[in-house]
């Protein structure tokens, strides 16, 4: 193999954390977490497919303190990955590449996700949800 002795580029640990890199790493962590979340999501939805007893058991699992804690994490991850995904879309269109813009939009993503997660859970826990 021609590629066996090629040097690896410097990895994460040699760099000081910056807004750009931290926001990017959280994006990936949230994405992977959400994909693990689909396992739980599938459990919940297929329980509904099995009928009332299975569904209400799944609802109880989701409503337990551990279930709610995990849902809280997924809520944040979903808002974050969506918001930062839109940021990536803007870059795909060639927009917002200046360092000031990149740092500003990165902080906006973090702020948006925290605020929306808080709002969502305020609505959820106060029992005034939609539909």
């Amino acid at each position: 193999m021609a590629s066996s002795n090629r040097p690896l580029s410097p990895h994460l640990q040699v760099y000081r954390p910056q807004i750009t890199s931290v926001v990017s790493i959280i994006h990936r962590i949230c994405g992977v977490s959400l994909m693990f979340g689909t396992v739980l999501f599938t459990y919940w939805l297929t329980s509904a497919g099995y009928g009332p007893a299975a569904f209400e058991r799944a609802q109880a699992v989701m409503g337990s303190w551990l279930g709610q804690l995990i849902m809280f994490g997924f809520t944040f991850a979903l808002y974050y990955h969506t918001a930062n995904g839109l940021r990536h879309m803007a870059w795909d269109l060639g927009l917002g590449f200046e360092m000031t813009a990149v740092n500003k939009t990165g902080m906006m993503v973090v702020a948006f996700s925290l605020i929306m997660t808080g709002l969502t859970w305020y609505v959820a826990l106060s029992g005034s949800g939609g539909l």
Binding site: V32, T42, E56
Partner: protein, 126 residues
């Protein structure tokens, strides 16, 4: 026209020629997921802790069935594409990388089909 010599092509694997398709599919599923995710969070607020009848009443409305199936398709497509990239980045042994990617793709397919079946069953037994 391929400018590389035969030897150069044989030695270096080079492009797999399917990167663009992956990239485009990731973007399109992302565009679909942005509004669908917000719709799902809003909807989930309504059936958090609800009994089966409440969920079934919601899940059997045609609009909700259609949006839920679209959400599932976009979600599993986007998720398996993303996790494939992560595995390709971090798993070094080629055989383990390929097996992991295959497991992710087929598990996503299995979960997606199971979820769609459940949505339809809930909707059509209402």
């Amino acid at each position: 026209m391929d400018m590389r010599s035969h030897l150069g092509r044989a030695r270096g694997p080079g492009s797999t020629d399917n990167g663009v398709e992956h990239w485009i599919s990731e973007r399109f599923s992302a565009i679909a997921l942005a509004p669908l995710s917000l719709w799902f969070i809003y909807s989930a607020l309504g059936f958090a802790g609800a009994d089966y009848a409440t969920f079934q009443a919601w899940q059997s409305q045609p609009g909700n069935v259609i949006l839920m199936i679209l959400f599932l398709l976009a979600m599993f497509q986007h998720g398996q594409l993303g996790l494939t990239v992560v595995f390709e980045d971090y798993i070094q042994p080629v055989w383990l990388k390929n097996i992991s990617v295959a497991i992710v793709k087929y598990t996503a397919l299995l979960f997606c089909v199971a979820c769609i079946f459940s949505v339809l069953r809930v909707a059509f037994t209402a």
